[in-house]
């Protein structure tokens, strides 16, 4: 048992941290926010060609770096801290995961290398527009028609859905209520329409996608070992863990910023950091950040085990719900406390606090909020 980053993992994390400190400062984030794309394509290209992050946990056989989910999580934590605007989460933590879990070898060989080369972004669309994040959220349908498959339906809350090159979409067979399958298709496939959904959190883009009689070859149906329902569940759990890691990074940044600001800010001739009310709030923030981090690191290990097929991977649903529920609540609480302790300036557009405060809410609701995941855990425990 060893529950700390290896030296190599620490190096990867530190490299990411210093790179992001350079390329994702407040000005860069605000510039990206102002575009419809939501990120700077030049920066993404630099990430793909210099840092190779898009390939981080793709097996070497498919052109990837062959690292694990612990490394993905370490990266996401840093991205959360620096609010990086990029299609990393959608491409790597949804698209690549979907292919790793649900695709057969041929499909992996077809799509993963193109992602690793940095030419292709990807995302996952499954939620038909409801406040649920499991297989019951899928409302789109598919049917066989000769040698082809025809897809119909719509999706909301699709991360980077309007810009991704490759879509992995979930649909249930027409007439069959329960069976879900996943399909991979280029976003430019005829019949696909996509629209940006502008969001309160401007540092990550959501979109709606509609499929109208979209015709794809049978080979577009992902057909790995798992059933479509099982695969989708695992893909969502892996994405939730990555998102929880981002939440930890954001929480840490809010704590750090709060300690720094309150140590400068003077009221009644004292730094406000010297007031016990401020200290104790900061202590509660630190508690939440550290507890959240413990949850995420454990979940990262479980995710890694799940991806490598180990028995410990069976804990994935629990670990994902533990991490996502705790981190969602912690990030929102910590960001809210930060805003409060910054006082008036925290309320301005000019200071960065509101960017994190908004990210806290958007990531809380994305893939299920605290109450949602707690009810999921309650069902595991009690029913």
């Amino acid at each position: 048992m060893e529950f700390a980053f290896t030296q190599e993992q620490e190096m990867i994390r530190d490299t990411a941290a210093s790179f992001l400190a350079q390329v994702s400062d407040s000005a860069a984030v605000r510039a990206a926010m102002a575009t419809e794309t939501g990120y700077d394509p030049a920066l993404w290209s630099r990430i793909c060609t210099q840092m190779y992050w898009q390939a981080i946990h793709v097996p070497e056989a498919y052109g990837g770096m062959g690292l694990g989910y612990v490394e993905v999580v370490a990266m996401m934590e840093q991205m959360g801290k620096h609010l990086l605007c990029s299609p990393f989460f959608s491409t790597v933590c949804m698209g690549v995961n979907a292919l790793l879990i649900a695709a057969n070898d041929e499909q992996k060989a077809q799509w993963l290398p193109t992602i690793c080369e940095g030419n292709t972004t990807a995302t996952l669309a499954f939620n038909g527009g409801v406040n649920r994040w499991d297989t019951t959220a899928v409302t789109a349908t598919w049917r066989k028609e000769g040698d082809n498959i025809v897809l119909n339906g719509s999706y909301r809350y699709v991360i980077d859905g309007h810009t991704a090159d490759l879509l992995i979409v979930a649909a249930r067979q027409e007439g069959e209520s329960s069976d879900i399958a996943l399909f991979v298709l280029p976003a430019q496939t005829p019949g696909v329409t996509r629209a940006w959904l502008p969001t309160m959190d401007q540092a990550r883009r959501q979109a709606s996608i509609a499929l109208q009689e979209v015709t794809v070859e049978t080979a577009a149906m992902l057909s790995g070992a798992d059933s479509g329902n099982a695969a989708l569940t695992r893909i969502v759990d892996l994405a939730a863990i990555a998102l929880a890691a981002e939440q930890v990074g954001g929480s840490q940044q809010m704590l750090d910023a709060t300690v720094a600001y309150t140590s400068e800010r003077v009221q009644f001739n004292r730094t406000i950091a010297s007031y016990q009310a401020v200290k104790h709030k900061a202590a509660d923030m630190m508690l939440q950040v550290e507890v959240a981090r413990s949850a995420v690191y454990y979940a990262a290990c479980v995710a890694q085990e799940a991806l490598s097929g180990s028995t410990l991977g069976a804990e994935l649903p629990e670990a994902a719900s533990v991490a996502k529920s705790y981190c969602s609540d912690a990030y929102f609480a910590v960001a809210g406390d930060a805003l409060q302790l910054f006082g008036g300036v925290g309320f301005t557009w000019e200071y960065d606090v509101h960017l994190y405060f908004k990210r806290a809410k958007s990531s809380e609701h994305m893939l299920g909020n605290g109450a949602y995941h707690r009810e999921r855990l309650a069902a595991m425990l009690l029913d």
Partner: protein, 399 residues
């Protein structure tokens, strides 16, 4: 104790409601539910016209004594007026600083000349006021005023230099009351003056502050040799703190019940949404809605206690009044969070790019100011503990 209003008061309620029904229509229809905290940037010109309409019906300054041009309403009637005003979804008042703060201050501390000069414009809805209290870096430390006022013997006028911040609607105001230091060597409460300053002059610049909502209703106001006539200081030079504190006392009172009606409107919108999108069947959301409902109800009862205490003539601030700001501000912040969680993932989706928030989103973000301005929650707890419970004061530092 009795809960019901007198028959006379109920008749007054009918009168208010019916006037609003008849007059809040036509060109004013579009103002319904607009203005107010978080939406002050909406329709300022039209809302000024509405103020004049109110004045024609004698519905401005209903609590002022008749001797000063008001209606001289009883506390019960003022409560009724504010409740009906909010119930009718009449627009956020452009004149509330003048009516609620400047007027009462001049009636209490001003000269007859000052009253003659300024009260009519407030009463008839043609002159609007903003307040110059907060300064950058001062925050909750109100006495830490750096803005200076020097009397210029040559011109016979005060010259004001410095900066104020968080000034709501400064760009829409004709006058500003300003706390400035008249005694250059003084610190804290001492050596301040309370000035009535015309906004339209070269020495004053207003710069809007862009808020978390992407909109601006607060401003920075820069004073660079701004002028103020020697007749426009309220009280003596050096006595500004007394006037300023008296004015803060006017902030509490009957308008709390009107504010609660606005809260009720927001809460009702959350309930409607929960019923329509299915969140009302989520037991966790049900608990939160019930809790919000509970506390909103009690907020009203608490205000009734405050007002009954006032009407018995006991001047000291009672406990239920001491906790009120902390209570409502925290409640309102929770309502914002509840609204978002009732919306679920849809809470993220804007009406339009770049940043058109819907009303609940705007409320959710704007309420974050409530626990900060007018004394943060932390300052409120100090006040409650020190004044309400007699616990030791926080020491000032020596930095």
């Amino acid at each position: 104790m009795k809960l019901s209003f007198s028959a006379e008061d109920e008749q007054f309620r009918q009168e208010v409601a019916s006037w609003l029904r008849d007059n809040l229509s036509g060109e004013f229809e579009k103002l319904k539910g607009r203005g107010g905290p978080g939406d002050e940037h909406s329709f300022p010109q039209e809302r000024k016209v509405w103020e004049q309409k109110l004045a024609q019906g004698k519905w401005t300054c209903v609590g002022w004594p008749q001797a000063y041009g008001g209606r001289g309403c009883s506390i019960e009637q003022q409560v009724i007026f504010f409740e009906e005003y909010a119930r009718a979804r009449a627009p956020g008042r452009m004149g509330h600083i003048g009516e609620g703060l400047t007027g009462p201050t001049l009636i209490a501390y001003g000269t007859q000349a000052q009253r003659d000069k300024y009260l009519p414009g407030i009463l008839d809805g043609t002159q609007f006021w903003c307040q110059g209290y907060s300064e950058p870096g001062a925050g909750s430390d109100l006495a830490n005023v750096k803005t200076r006022a020097a009397f210029d013997q040559a011109s016979g006028k005060w010259r004001i230099n410095g900066q104020k911040v968080w000034t709501s609607l400064a760009h829409e105001s004709d006058y500003c009351f300003v706390i400035a230091r008249t005694d250059p060597g003084s610190v804290g409460h001492k050596g301040l003056g309370f000035f009535l300053v015309e906004m339209d002059q070269p020495g004053i610049q207003v710069r809007p502050i862009e808020q978390i909502t992407g909109t601006s209703e607060f401003n920075e106001v820069f004073f660079d040799d701004a002028e103020c006539s020697s007749e426009d200081i309220v009280g003596e030079p050096g006595e500004g703190w007394k006037v300023a504190m008296g004015l803060l006392g006017f902030e509490r009172g009957v308008s709390t019940l009107g504010q609660q009606m606005l809260f009720q409107n927001e809460f009702d919108e959350v309930v409607r949404l929960a019923r329509s999108n299915g969140a009302a069947s989520d037991p966790v959301i049900r608990q939160r809605i019930a809790r919000a409902h509970t506390e909103l109800k009690i907020m009203r009862y608490n205000s009734m206690r405050m007002l009954s205490g006032q009407s018995t003539g006991d001047g000291s601030l009672q406990k239920e009044a001491l906790i009120y700001k902390l209570f409502w501000a925290t409640w309102h912040r929770s309502l914002g969070e509840l609204a978002m969680d009732v919306m679920g993932p849809e809470c993220e989706i804007l009406d339009a790019p770049p940043y058109a928030l819907n009303r609940l989103q705007s409320m959710y973000l704007f309420v974050r100011a409530d626990t900060i301005y007018g004394g943060t929650n932390q300052i409120q707890r100090n006040i409650i503990a020190e004044r309400g419970l007699g616990m030791p004061k926080e020491p000032r530092g020596t930095l």
